[in-house]
Symmetry: C2
Subunit: 470 residues, 2 copies
């Protein structure tokens, strides 16, 4: 260690804000791998990248998130403007669609991978800064756009190796019809949604108790529970619902949407076990108007890893013209919890594939020109990089080989290349396999190829001269 | 267009904050390509990825940036804490190095690519939110770490195709010795630095005038100018400086550092035309303590595209222990200006490589199950994606082929695949080349391969089933 303890010096205590995180390299390597795969799937489905500012006018963000609006990070900027940190990626998209209406070709399919900020109470799995990964289509009223979003998320979770998941599908008009079907007046509807939303957590009996506790009659509660627990094939459930909602045209429109959507999902070949009609699923955000989606993962019990739906009115709140839109948002943090739990994507421990040791000649200390040993190490590391390898050279020429091996071991660099006086004289390089401690020699001219072969045996063909997938 | 003008409806005017930008897909495709190449070079040199929060305690950020501290975005969060948006990536690294001292193996080489925020007056090429791309080494006092940072930046700019650039190198101790060598008292030193820093802009005569206008004697001004304009080979310049600074040990230490650094750069094989000793180069930030670097690009005249240096005291301000550190910061926005000016990286216009048209059967309108034409298009797009192509399907089945061609043209999708009733009957797919309008048929089973060949001819082998480089 090169640090000197200065004892009495007063230092600022280094602190992270609660709910915020540093991502050290090993975490970053995994995050980049996951984000790389998501981007790959999004682009394969023709979604195009978009980015927007972290800060928006506060007026852009307010009135969109219901009660949770209090979680917005708001403040006044240098010019006295009321501003806020991005709370999700959907409202910025709506603002973009309205602001750049003349530059965008509709339907506009975009993906957006970026952090959002919410002043939530930090708790297990909840952060104040976290990444969302969104795919949305602006400008298509067709259920095709909804089906595409669902197919994309299904493929993404499959590619990440999720062992089991179900995309639950419902419709905003069916949700809002629930109260009317149950005969509950408009103003009591919110109570019903909030209670029904908990059915997975507290069970039907718990929902019934809560409804009754909140002043809903037992017969109404039973009717609501009866509806949201319709079972059977999707077609039968929708047919049953159609019968019960015969006089509610709004609900009938929702049923038609879902029938069409399920037909398109089948035509797109989305595996049938990965999506299901779930009449008890309610999405809290105010702006949804059509189909709504949610992916809850049971093992490990991380809750919702993705959610979305159609929001045909949101863009109009900026542009004054109705522009239909629909999409899906994946939560990176919960996806990572699942990936870690099942060890779905083992990430390499280090970026560098090989460390070139510096074998220095003692007498050269203090001279301006590097000694021959250092110069040889630098020439070698440059050569390996030119061959496409990720190579580092040990950055302190005053340390001996033992310190350099310790460094490679602690970092997880699999190989150390050693080019001492003897090796230089014989035109070879010594390679030390850090996992086994074995050493072998390779002719200098063939070194890059020997290292590639070694890495191929260690990690498979992917991990050699190509970049880490990200 | 599916929008309906609702006339009287009151909508919020969609607005971007001044100094902030949306990046629409075409801009994003170029940005991602540049960032991908930077990451590639950084990782090839063994720098590992790190990320830190956008928000830090204000106390972490203050006292680091001199006069510019007023540009910090500061506010109180929900818990009444004084917080600020990240102003650069160096101070967060110092905070990380102190906070995670027990988890980091030193020397710690990290790269960090992320936005930073400054409440600057927006002007051409200046933004309030912009990306920095940093490489730094923590924990090595050796000039090797400085040489590695310089070699990395040189390789990055070469890989991006920069036609000409010079990494200017100076040393903080030489800069602070300038005033003493010129016989100016401590308190006048700032005046000298600020004037000398303008030498590229206003010329030596301009600097002389400014120094005199600020109360520096003409003889002193001449001595300063004489020093910073030393010409010749690096070795001669440093030898001359060594002679003049014979009684200033601080300056002599700086000269030794630079002699060593230039020797290491040669050993690393950094092309000699890409770096130079520049005694008039001054870096404003308070925290530099050793060598300092800057890359100014002359064509187009965008100013500094990268800058950095050694800051051995900054981490200690958090940890109370001296930990040496050095690195380089590249500014993405100015790099992009150069890339656009010289068209160095033509980005593809669209993510999708092929649009599958929906040829719908008229009579199927309103039915729940998709008609045969839509179903066939969906099956085809899924097939192409499974073959690794980036394929989209037109997301509005009520539009005719002409609208779909217009869409492909405006988006820049190079191919449209058409699978009408006739093609289905014959087991073929029609492919329309949108650049020439030419149509040809391919057997359905061979379609993915035919498209790959077409794209290879159009863009070269890189652009086919592999992901866009990013």
């Amino acid at each position: 260690m090169t640090e000197t303890d200065k004892g009495g010096r007063k230092a600022l205590r280094p602190q992270l804000l609660s709910g915020f995180r540093d991502f050290l390299p090993q975490q970053m390597l995994l995050r980049q791998q996951v984000l790389g795969r998501l981007r790959e799937v999004f682009e394969r489905h023709g979604y195009e990248p978009l980015d927007t500012p972290a800060l928006e006018y506060a007026a852009t963000l307010t009135g969109k998130y219901g009660e949770d609006e209090k979680l917005l990070y708001r403040f006044q900027d240098h010019g006295g403007r009321e501003v806020g940190l991005r709370y999700d990626l959907t409202v910025p998209l709506a603002r973009v669609a309205a602001l750049h209406a003349n530059d965008l070709v509709l339907p506009f399919k975009r993906y957006h991978i970026a952090p959002v900020w919410r002043g939530d109470r930090p708790q297990r799995g909840r952060f104040r800064e976290f990444y969302q990964c969104d795919v949305d289509t602006v400008g298509s009223p067709s259920m095709l756009a909804d089906a595409e979003a669902i197919a994309t998320v299904a493929e993404a979770l499959q590619l990440l190796g999720f062992p089991e998941f179900t995309i639950q599908i419902n419709h905003r008009r069916i949700v809002s019809g629930l109260a009317r079907l149950a005969g509950v007046p408009e103003e009591g509807a919110g109570t019903i949604y909030r209670a029904v939303d908990k059915i997975e957590k507290i069970g039907p009996a718990g929902v019934r108790d809560e409804l009754i506790a909140r002043g809903i009659g037992a017969d109404v509660a039973d009717r609501v529970l009866d509806l949201v627990q319709l079972r059977g094939g999707t077609a039968e459930m929708l047919a049953e619902l159609r019968e019960r909602a015969a006089n509610l045209p709004e609900v009938l429109g929702g049923i038609e949407d879902l029938e069409r959507l399920f037909g398109l999902l089948a035509a797109l070949g989305v595996p049938r076990e990965h999506y299901a009609l779930q009449l008890s699923m309610v999405r809290g955000l105010d702006y949804y108007t059509g189909p709504i989606f949610e992916v809850a993962v049971e093992r490990p019990k991380v809750g919702s890893v993705a959610a979305g739906g159609r929001y045909d009115g949101l863009i109009g709140s900026f542009s004054g013209r109705d522009v239909p839109a629909t999409g899906f948002s994946l939560g990176l943090e919960r996806i990572l919890e699942v990936i870690k739990e099942f060890d779905l994507l083992p990430a390499p421990r280090s970026v560098a594939q090989v460390l070139v040791a510096v074998v220095r000649e003692r007498d050269a200390d203090g001279a301006a020109a590097p000694d021959e040993g250092t110069a040889a190490a630098l020439a070698l590391v440059t050569e390996l990089r030119e061959a496409g390898l990720r190579a580092e050279v040990y950055l302190n020429e005053r340390r001996g080989l033992r310190d350099q091996f310790t460094y490679a071991n602690r970092k997880g660099v699999p190989l150390v290349a050693i080019l001492g006086e003897d090796e230089r004289a014989r035109g070879v390089v010594k390679l030390k396999d850090m996992a086994t401690g074995e050493e072998r020699e390779a002719p200098r001219a063939a070194l890059a190829r020997v290292i590639e072969q070694f890495l191929e045996e260690l990690y498979g063909a992917e991990a050699t001269t190509k970049r880490l997938q990200q």
